[in-house]
């Protein structure tokens, strides 16, 4: 059940082709698994291992290094609150505390209705707009406690919160696991022939011709 769907297997194969070696596709594929399920299960890891030709243990080895991959179910909305230095100076810790109080969970926990998980995170690169958060990796900037409550209320009501920034205005906030809403599309027609490095032995043709000229 937690193996990749047929559509996602096709997508996975397309992604694997972009790399000179299949294992390089592992992190994007783990994201794909997380997109399908909201988290990364053992079955998914085993399936990815089959797809890129490594053991399930190797997939787990990579997966567990990275904080964004969740090995158990989490909320539909991952609310990441920054408390690193720039945010700390302007109320990041107080905002985290407020979030814990209003949602009734500690950082790392998930609400009973399965809607929200909060995390106390490191710098998310919006330091001038402190205190800042990300909800499923969409930014909320310069937030007051009331702004935070508005965001939570809007998400509960199924709306896109005004205070969250998306790539295009008014875009939905997808469930946890989905990052960018569009993907790079690479068909065989458009690309040069991506092959394993040992299959290339010569300088690229444009360099070779130019050195002949000079």
């Amino acid at each position: 059940m937690s193996r990749l769907s047929d559509a996602n297997v096709a997508l996975a194969k397309d992604i694997i082709r972009r790399y000179p070696r299949p294992k390089s596709a592992l992190i994007p594929l783990l994201h794909l698994a997380q997109e399908q399920e909201g988290w990364v299960s053992d079955e998914a890891m085993a399936h990815l291992g089959e797809l890129v030709g490594v053991t399930a243990a190797e997939v787990r080895g990579t997966c567990t290094f990275y904080e964004m991959f969740k090995l158990h179910p989490v909320g539909k909305y991952m609310v990441n609150i920054c408390t690193n230095i720039a945010c700390q100076l302007l109320g990041g810790e107080e905002l985290l505390h407020h979030a814990e109080q209003t949602l009734g969970i500690r950082a790392g926990g998930t609400t009973n209705d399965g809607l929200f998980t909060i995390e106390d995170v490191e710098c998310i690169a919006a330091c001038t707009e402190a205190p800042c958060i990300q909800v499923n990796y969409r930014f909320g900037l310069r937030l007051t406690h009331d702004d935070f409550d508005d965001i939570i209320a809007a998400l509960r009501a199924g709306n896109t919160p005004e205070k969250l920034i998306t790539a295009n205005p008014g875009e939905v906030i997808p469930s946890h696991g989905t990052l960018g809403l569009s993907r790079q599309v690479m068909t065989e027609v458009q690309t040069t022939h991506i092959v394993a490095p040992e299959q290339v032995t010569e300088a690229p043709v444009w360099l070779a011709t130019s050195s002949k000229d000079s």
């Binding site: 710098c123 330091c127 790079q184």
Partner: protein, 465 residues
């Protein structure tokens, strides 16, 4: 909806006077579209490069002394020359993993002008014969990933990327890759490990630098997003024009993110070596002074890894050399301003906690040392500090980074600062970075630490009695 209108303030970016080499389009709300990009000279620099021999494009970059903007400040043109002559293929890996505390400029460049970055990648690939480029974007930057995916699709469709680009014999692929949350992956060899599908742990270097032995053991150029974003302007305007901006050793402009307790925090693009910290903090065109009229206590001059500077240093120009001589670094261009209400112990702990959390665990001094530093600072802050704790902190620091640690601001004590970078017993500089806030805070504000420890021990004596 994007309307093509002038927007004076995209969230985070603040427009200011002076030449804008990399942020010129940020003032438009459709800056990220191909339409806006082509209407404002987009891909012209690349077309100009294609008219030249690859070697000449490399020479322009070398002549311009384009310094790396990722942290180490190594000249890009020289790094490009380190690829061994006859080993093929060579790869380009773009470092968009920006996660250093206080740093953000690459995110804006990727979100607001993805085509400029793509054009920069094309120029680099053409110049030194790189046949495939991986654009490694930090996992948490969903909007940047989306904008770059859209931009790559547009650029492929227009024939700027792919087989026989624009009818020439230049062929290249650019692949969007994204991470999954790990600061250490910003270190270039860890970035390569991660791109190979492994745990993002740094490789030992020397002997092998990525330009010689990198991705899949092949020559690999790793460059920062901002570094590459300079190339289109450089190809359009030439090295001489580039050197008209900035100082002799640090030409051009740089993006600085100024955050913390100032009136108008923001990301500013300014000339290197001309503008000073004082201009940025107090200048009307920049941050306009301290928040609520308070006093400056200290500031992070170049990312969480950099030793702190103090009020007497605000006149330092924003340039690698003088800042390095003062015992710290310009690093990633992240400036965090702290006022006199800031608790030095708390600020120090917060930065140290970052390194403790982000240590990859490959080498013992860093893995064990950073977490002990955090525990000791936490107990001092919580009122459980022990009398020997400050010496213990310095001792642990000395295990990670032996010898005098680079410090700034001891002129008052008659001490010479030790220039950056520090020595290390570790594989990469993350471990030593954790020592920076400790030596900075402890040497300057030792009394704050001592007061907390003294209070803790008074209380415990009373409790026992």
């Amino acid at each position: 909806m994007a309307t093509g209108q002038y927007v004076p303030h995209a969230p985070g970016y603040v427009d200011s006077p002076g030449e804008k080499i990399v942020t010129s389009r940020f003032v438009y709300d459709d800056s990220y579209t191909l339409e806006r990009y082509e209407a404002t000279g987009g891909y012209e620099g690349f077309k100009a490069a294609l008219q030249k021999a690859p070697d000449d494009v490399h020479s322009i970059t070398r002549d311009a002394t384009l310094l790396g903007r990722g942290g180490a400040g190594f000249p890009a043109g020289i790094k490009w020359g380190f690829c061994p002559d006859d080993v093929w293929p060579r790869y380009l890996v773009v470092n968009g993993d920006e996660s250093e505390p206080g740093t953000y400029k690459d995110r804006l460049l990727m979100e607001l002008d993805p085509h400029q970055l793509i054009e920069g990648c094309l120029i680099a690939c053409y110049a030194i014969g790189l046949t495939q480029c991986f654009l490694y974007v930090r996992g948490e930057m969903a909007v940047a990933q989306q904008r770059i995916a859209d931009a790559l699709n547009e650029a492929y469709a227009k024939g700027y990327i792919g087989q026989n680009v624009l009818g020439t014999d230049f062929s290249v692929d650019i692949v969007l890759h994204w991470g999954a949350g790990a600061y250490i992956v910003g270190e270039e060899t860890a970035l390569i490990e991660s791109l190979e599908g492994n745990r993002g742990m740094p490789r030992l270097k020397p002997p092998f630098f990525p330009a010689a032995v990198g991705l899949y053991g092949q020559p690999t150029i790793v460059n920062n997003v901002e570094t590459l974003s300079n190339l289109p302007w450089l190809m359009n305007n030439g090295a001489d024009k580039y050197k008209e901006f900035g100082s002799e050793t640090s030409p051009g402009t740089r993006m600085f993110a100024v955050s913390g307790q100032v009136k108008r925090p923001g990301v500013y693009e300014v000339e290197q070596g001309v503008t000073t910290y004082e201009d940025l903090i107090y200048g009307n065109d920049y941050c306009q002074g301290m928040l609520d009229g308070r006093e400056l206590k200290m500031f992070v001059p170049g990312g969480g890894s950099a030793p702190w500077l103090f009020p007497e240093h605000v006149k330092l120009p924003l340039e690698a050399r003088p800042v390095g001589a003062a015992g710290t670094m310009l690093g990633s261009g992240a400036i965090v301003i702290m006022d006199d209400t800031t608790d030095a112990v708390k600020a120090c702990l917060r930065i140290v906690r970052f390194f403790a959390r982000e240590s990859c665990g490959k080498c013992a001094p860093c893995r064990e040392g950073t977490s002990w530093e955090e525990k000791i600072l936490q107990r001092i802050l919580d009122g459980h500090g022990r009398p020997g704790d400050l010496d213990l902190l310095l001792d642990i620091g000395d295990n990670i980074s032996p010898g005098p640690y680079p410090v700034a601001g001891f002129e008052a004590e008659g001490l010479e600062p030790v220039p950056f970078p520090p020595r290390q017993t570790t594989i990469c500089p993350l471990g030593p970075s954790s020592v920076a806030p400790i030596t900075s805070a402890l040497r300057r504000f030792r009394h704050e630490f001592e007061a907390k420890i003294a209070a803790a021990n008074e209380t415990s004596v009373e409790v026992i009695a």
